[in-house]
Symmetry: C2
Amino acid sequence: MRLALDAMGGDLAPAAVVEGALHFAAAEPAVSVVLVGDEPRVRAHLPPRPPPNVHLHHASQVVEMAEPALAAVRSKRDASVRVCFELVRRREAEAAVTAGHSGAAMAAALAVLGRIPGVDRPALAALFPALGARGRCLLLDVGANAECRPQHLAQFAVLGAAYVSACHSVAAPRVAVLSNGEEESKGTRLTREALALLHKSDLDFRGYAEGKDLFSGAFDVLVTDGFTGNAVLKASEGVAAGLTGLLQRAVERAHLPARLGGLLLRSTLAGLWRLVDASEVGGVPLLGIPGVGIVAHGRSSPRAVASALRVARRTVEADLEGSLAGAIARSRTWLPTRAVKGSKGKTPEPI
Amino acid sequence: MRLALDAMGGDLAPAAVVEGALHFAAAEPAVSVVLVGDEPRVRAHLPPRPPPNVHLHHASQVVEMAEPALAAVRSKRDASVRVCFELVRRREAEAAVTAGHSGAAMAAALAVLGRIPGVDRPALAALFPALGARGRCLLLDVGANAECRPQHLAQFAVLGAAYVSACHSVAAPRVAVLSNGEEESKGTRLTREALALLHKSDLDFRGYAEGKDLFSGAFDVLVTDGFTGNAVLKASEGVAAGLTGLLQRAVERAHLPARLGGLLLRSTLAGLWRLVDASEVGGVPLLGIPGVGIVAHGRSSPRAVASALRVARRTVEADLEGSLAGAIARSRTWLPTRAVKGSKGKTPEPI
């Protein structure tokens, strides 16, 4: 198996990306990692004799975090993230992995690979740590599609359920639409129409859920538009970072007994930090493209990059693309889609 | 000063509400509290001789948390929350306070008091604990108006800024529109049009903010539609409750040194819990009604009820209604509003 890794993507690239690739390559000798990026800059972080399963593929351009994604991907045809997906298209890699601009990753995937037939809008997903036995909840879309129609939310439900079935071994995922209340009279026109569609589906559809249900363990998949999903994701990251930061500072500034308490609690607290630490989650796939594309957090550390590569390997092994395509095909009995010929229809503008 | 308190509102009513009223009345002998609710049920929680500044006003009906707010307020004309606002309208109380259904509070306020001239959509606000010197950020709307137009978001900005100026002594509040990215190309049609309006305003308007900025301390007021605001608020409450719960359980289950650590850290942790504890915040006003209406958290403890009464007293003293009306009047040079004759136009459906 070969994984194409965007060496230029992420706040700490290329140093952290290359270091993460080396960790992964050492642990998984049967998998090759292709570092895609500016050759001299990437090579500067490689040892004189790289391991045999680490390769370098030159790409002369980079999409910066602040750039408008779609325009950047269109104009920079040799951008590292785009070249990763070109390697997937040419079957020189089984998956593309990036910690760069997630909007650019989606735009590049769409431009190069197109969409799975029947999918109007591929989505970005985020995994939330949840209470309960399953321990996580998938939210999508979290930013690829700021404005959505009811059938898009229904497609997100099909894609999300197929993903957690295939890659997280959840047999019958419990799916709901994120809303501002549990009663079906709540929500907006968008959510009420999505509800009507999903009640006709063959999913284990549970109606509306609220923001707190991302953590309650009552659902496996929540769907929403990319505007709301992004706001919810970033607010949640903000609370988690703020609370853990406050706790750390409180412990540091406290009087001696409390400082000692913080010391004694260290391993317990470390377990908590991990829950809110991007490096443990490692990456989520772009859902709806014909191929595997994994997006890791922009602040990914070497450990997070290695973790994203492991997610990529497992996602390839789980045949995610096949699962998604099958689920979308089966949903055609109840889910209207825009007529799409082949997999490369007009690409919607990702955010 | 007289404050009308919905004795039947909240998960722990009437017991916790009456207890909170008694605490407040003992601490503030110059302020009267009118307990509005079912007389025998409320009296059961009062001492045989209530203090002279605690009064009882019978109301025969209650809006339950699960009821559709608007229909309940319309059909139950003697509902405790509605009677509170009737007392305000008849000038028998300076403020209405409830820990009940916030949608019902908004519906009752609109039905009884109407709106401040020039305000199309009164809003529900939430105060988030933020980093930095000011320590808080106001988000509105968080659920009164699931679907909004650009001028509604601009009005929320005016109302929110006037509120934090009048009641939290913030001289020039920094205002932004919640979006899915900081670049002005992001967002939806709604947010982009609100941005264009607000750039013409006389507010200290900073453009877009992201979900994490609720806690970053970079802004004093963030505006959004009530659907997104509600999802963000409930997700944030979910993360905070989840993290603090996990920490508490981790400490309880830990081996002895960590348990000891938890004990030594107790006062430090208590400070953290307070940050995420509804009882410390105490209540936020309905913004845009001609009168003071304070909504406390549904799970309010006696301490939280007493705190909400203090917020009500301070809000009356700060002449919030005058500040809001003045700010809305001044905004007419740049902010289009629906033509409203008098203060009782057609009331929009609150959620």
